[in-house]
């Protein structure tokens, strides 16, 4: 099965597991304990260009890269990500591959090395799949000093890298899947409509001084890449005034919930009858 499609299906399976196990709050997010406890001050973030791979999946398996789509996704992500981070209270240091090449020696390779190092630690981070929210804040992994040169040149406290794998299916493949689903449906009474397109995304925020992985999240769906990014980044801990507002909102909600509970308890008479 194609790698893109397999990642997408893994993400769907994980989402299904989440829905089924929604009694416990499970998450795809991971957070360094120091970041979760706000012991690391990250004010400005450098956003690296998104890695994009977008495939046309075909019946024969001879899949094709759709370079125009890839360019579009890179552009829309470059436009969207800074705003999404600013909504979480961070200052953003925007950069392009061209700028990086002029200010960091061997920038492209250094960034590739950082990504390779992250790929390795990502295996440790995600070997258990979804975990409970409290468990998600206990991950201490680092990519080492490899990314510090990039963060230093960009004068950023941390950098965010994002990779997106997207696919769409050819008419022939869709036809084949519909036939397979129909045949299976005739046997089992259940018909699953195969997705004609989709994508999955992973983001990682790396400390620009220590190389520690501060926060990661992954997800996917049959929506645009920027929509997936929005859903992932809403889980990034906020900072500054945004964090204060969120804290105030959470406290207000908790106070209202406590008040409602008190009233519900008070409206019950002492012998338990309403």
């Amino acid at each position: 099965m194609n790698r893109q499609y397999r990642r997408y299906m893994q993400w769907c399976a994980a989402l299904l597991a989440l829905l089924l196990a929604s009694g416990c709050a499970m998450t795809t997010m991971r957070e360094h304990p120091d970041f979760a406890a706000q012991k690391r001050q990250v004010k400005n973030i450098a956003v690296l260009p998104t890695d994009v791979e977008y495939l046309l999946l075909v019946l024969t398996g001879d899949n094709e890269r759709l370079t125009d789509e890839e360019r579009n996704v890179k552009t829309t992500m470059a436009e969207a990500l800074p705003g999404l981070l600013e909504q979480r209270g961070y200052q953003v240091r925007k950069t392009s591959a061209e700028e990086l090449a002029t200010i960091v020696k061997d920038a492209n390779f250094t960034i590739e090395q950082a990504k390779s190092a992250y790929n390795e630690v990502s295996k440790q981070l995600y070997e258990r799949g979804m975990v409970e929210e409290e468990e998600a804040k206990k991950f201490r992994v680092s990519i080492g000093p490899v990314g510090a040169a990039v963060a230093e040149a960009l004068k950023a406290d941390a950098f965010l890298f994002t990779r997106y794998s997207g696919f769409k299916k050819s008419e022939g493949l869709i036809a084949k899947e519909i036939v397979s689903s129909a045949m299976l449906g005739a046997l089992t009474g259940v018909v699953v409509v195969p997705a004609p397109a989709g994508g999955s995304m992973e983001m990682a925020l790396i400390d620009g001084y220590s190389g520690d992985v501060l926060w990661t999240n992954r997800g996917g769906g049959q929506v645009a890449a920027t929509a997936i990014a929005t859903n992932l980044l809403v889980k990034l801990p906020a900072t500054g005034t945004v964090a204060q507002m969120e804290k105030a909102n959470a406290q207000a909600k908790a106070a209202v919930a406590a008040e409602n509970e008190k009233r519900a308890a008070a409206s019950t008479s002492s012998d338990g009858t309403p």
Partner: protein, 415 residues
């Protein structure tokens, strides 16, 4: 589109696919007059993909930018290209910053030799066989033949699996679709490579030595099924090559081996290879590679340093070290294995310290040894020693690329 129309389309496409798989035109090598390179739609697609792939390798900075090494490899390569090719394909030679033991040829004439493979070779004659083998893939248009047989698709999927578990070199799946060949194609390339070596005046001992070397390459150090690993099929290749050498080429005189020139190039490559291995958490493999090279060059402070780094990182990343062990041994990764590596922390830190000190004994001003000793001391909680050593590193080092990282550590020692 209605369901019925989908079914019709599916049936038509399946039949077409089955029929087109059966009817394939023979592919003429570039040595023939009317080879028709680049005229079929299939081959144009392959060339386009190969061009895209190369653009991506360059954009990621994966192509080694070292004039001395590149000029040397290009010189050897051009001597081997058969003179009968009409220039329809520009055969080009590059070195890839990849620690896997591998080389590959693309349908557009691009030939890539990984740093991991070059670090294993010992002389120019061995290199000549590797390059000759890859040239043969291009000349014989094995890429197009493979595309017709669709094996590449299956191999691409399999290589994608390997890529997910074994290594993080992200380009591997694309490579599988462009540069994976049948056993027959590999054998044909071996035969032709020998012919190219004879024409260029290389000693055929290079071919025999190469196969012996490859038998020592752990399959995990290369790509699944690669001709550059100790894959079981390769023992047969070695046997076939020996038969050819004993038969058709038994009267060929000794040719050039040119070990000295190769060693000078190799010195530039081995350190890059070690650095790349450590970046993808191949710690034990880095120790093995460093010790192999230290046997040849015991006075190299850099080799001692990288061996030290491998041990230090094993100590600091027991999960990563356990994962590597499980991957190499094809065992299941479990908590017991990780705990075993945690227990070895002190041993690994001691070995790291010894290695750094050996590096320092070769060169008293070797700044990197101070870096290593400082990080070991920091890992052991000895802030004073860590601070002294890391400051020595910052003072002695000429080009410090991780000043921020080191200053961050010093900041934690003296907040």
């Amino acid at each position: 589109m209605s369901g019925v129309r989908h079914i019709h389309l599916f049936v038509c496409l399946t039949l077409f696919g089955l029929m087109s798989g059966c009817v394939t035109a023979p592919v003429a090598p570039l040595t023939e007059r009317n080879h028709g390179y680049g005229q079929s739609e299939d081959e144009q697609k392959l060339i386009r993909r190969a061009n895209q792939f190369e653009t991506e390798l360059l954009a990621k900075g994966l192509v080694l930018d070292d004039d001395t090494v590149t000029t040397y490899v290009q010189r050897v390569g051009q001597e081997l290209v058969p003179t009968v090719t009409d220039g329809a394909v520009a055969i080009r030679f590059h070195v890839l910053r990849d620690p896997l033991v591998n080389a590959f040829a693309l349908p557009n004439g691009g030939i890539y030799l990984n740093v991991g493979l070059l670090a294993r070779l010992e002389n120019e004659a061995q290199l000549a066989h590797v390059i000759g083998h890859e040239i043969a893939h291009v000349v014989q248009r094995h890429g197009l033949q493979q595309h017709h047989s669709r094996k590449a698709t299956i191999i691409a999927a399999h290589i994608a699996d390997v890529a997910l578990f074994g290594t993080s070199i992200a380009y591997l799946p694309a490579l599988g679709a462009l540069a994976s060949y049948s056993q027959e194609a590999e054998s044909e390339s071996d035969r032709l490579a020998i012919g190219y070596m004879v024409s260029a005046g290389y000693s055929l001992q290079g071919a025999e030595q190469l196969f012996k070397l490859l038998q020592e390459v752990n399959q995990r150090e290369s790509i699944w099924g690669s001709v550059y690993s100790s894959h079981p099929d390769n023992a047969q290749r070695a046997s076939e090559t020996r038969s050819i050498l004993a038969g058709r080429y038994s009267n060929v005189g000794s040719g050039r081996i040119n070990a000295r020139d190769y060693q000078q190039i190799r010195e530039r490559i081995v350190l890059e290879n070690l650095r790349l291995k450590l970046n993808i958490h191949q710690y034990a493999l880095a120790v093995k590679a460093a010790e192999h090279d230290l046997a040849l060059a015991p006075a190299s402070p850099w080799l001692h340093y990288y061996r030290g780094e491998a041990y230090r990182l094993m100590a600091e990343d027991p999960s990563g070290a356990a994962r590597e062990y499980a991957w190499i041994q094809d065992e299941k990764l479990n908590d017991e294995l990780v705990e075993r590596y945690r227990q070895l922390r002190t041993v690994h830190l001691d070995k790291a310290r010894q290695s750094y000190r050996q590096g320092l004994s070769q060169d008293r001003n070797f700044a990197m040894a101070h870096r290593g000793l400082g990080l070991v001391a920091y890992a052991e909680g000895d802030g004073q020693t860590a601070s002294n050593e890391l400051n020595q590193y910052l003072n002695l080092g000429r080009e410090i690329h991780d000043r921020r990282y080191i200053n961050n550590i010093l900041g934690r020692i003296h907040p």
